[in-house]
Amino acid sequence: MSEPVIRHYGPKAYADHPPFSYPDYRSTVKRSPTHDLIRIVQTLSETTGPGPAWTEISEEDTDLTTNTGTGSPAIGERIIVTGRVLDENGHGLPGTVVEIWQPNASGRYAHWRETEFPAPLDPNFVGVGQCLTDDHGGYRFTTIKPGPYPWGNHPNAWRPAHIHFSIMGPSLGTRLVTQMYFPGDPLIPLDPIFNSAPPHARSRMIATYDHEVTEANWALGYRWDVVLRGELATPMDERDD
């Protein structure tokens, strides 16, 4: 019987991620663990994961400006968002599903739970898409620049413009859901969700305007790379070799 491959993934770098409880984002206080996480050895259950099987059954849907099927384009500032999904060692991760969701140009989500913010819906925009990364880990979406929107966390609270990204990666532990922000947004320093990440890691969530990506007479371009946990270059138990 052929043996399974057991890879050795590096740890989740908790120092680069938000804490579980971050009181400035109020909802985290009761929705966070209070016991320490329990460290376990990685078995096949942790070193495999749903990413590859999810890729097998997923299809690309990368143009959010036209994917409602109405035949009319969405309203707003058309943009291209592109970049790579990498592991910590700098290797592009091919064949990984990148799922995104976002509000429309006026900051309104096409979701039944959004009932408070009287911004218009766009019948030609639902704000969802997915892409399978290419051989180098590259992804590319065409969408509408999302608007900022208010939320109930504190008085006059507004979320900076952002796009939600969900990525499986190759193993259970590489699962990442994050948000991509836009450069120069004055709401960024006021946002407790953005600020929940440690200061040294925050800029990793902000895309870069890239004129090389911008297409003449068509759309502005933004570039953003996402870095997931990677395999240890040298497994812990071989470091002394």
């Binding site: 043996e3 590096g10 991620h17 329990i38 376990i40 078995t43 979701h111 990442l176 990440a197």
Partner: protein, 190 residues
């Protein structure tokens, strides 16, 4: 040692993730009438024991033969057509209940050459959660295997029960995820 790239920080899925991250039927991994079909249902409870009405649960499991649908699992065990081992469920906005319909996984190897008790990996996210939490679902009718399971044995005895789904009727298990308090579910780092 070469310099590693910094990991992109995790952020919450927020309240609107069902636009993309859940579609009707993604919580059903096997069709009705499938041999060995089981249901796993429960709630996700916050530190005040209020149900979290907008949690996302993702499961990852081997098939009933104990094989993962993953390129690293080359073992010569049958793969079932159409069974990915991946499912997504959301808690109901009114009742807080989630449900998965799947099969009990077979046993997979542990780190010491023996076999683990049947278990399903579970990732929980939601509004108000800045990171996912990772846990495992074991089964109350697998006493013997559970007693030998390396990961369960490594836990404080008083907390092991938080990972055991209770068989409440034929082929129906109940598994709640609890945040905070004495009976908080065990969450893993690996």
């Amino acid at each position: 040692m070469s310099e590693l790239l910094g990991q992109t920080p995790s952020q919450t899925v927020g309240p609107y993730y069902t636009l993309r991250l859940f579609k009707e039927g993604e919580n059903v991994l096997v069709p009705p009438g499938h041999p060995g079909r089981i249901a796993i249902q429960g709630r996700v409870l916050d530190g005040d024991r209020n149900p979290i009405e907008d949690a996302l649960l993702e499961i990852w499991q081997a098939n009933s033969a104990g094989r993962y649908r993953h390129p690293d699992d080359h073992r010569e065990l049958a793969l079932d057509n159409g069974f990915t081992g991946f499912g997504r469920a959301i808690t109901d906005f009114e009742t807080g209940e989630y449900i998965f319909e799947t099969v009990k996984p077979g046993r997979v190897p542990d780190a010491e050459g023996a076999f683990q008790a049947p278990h399903i990996s579970l990732i929980v996210q939601g509004r108000g959660m800045l990171n996912p939490v990772f846990t495992r679902i074991y089964f109350s009718d697998e006493d013997e295997a559970n007693r030998d399971d390396l990961i369960l044995r490594g836990l404080p005895a008083a907390r092991r029960g938080t990972l055991i789904a209770e068989l409440v009727e034929t082929a129906v298990y109940r598994f709640d995820v609890l945040f905070q308090g004495e009976d908080e579910t065990v969450f893993f780092d690996f």
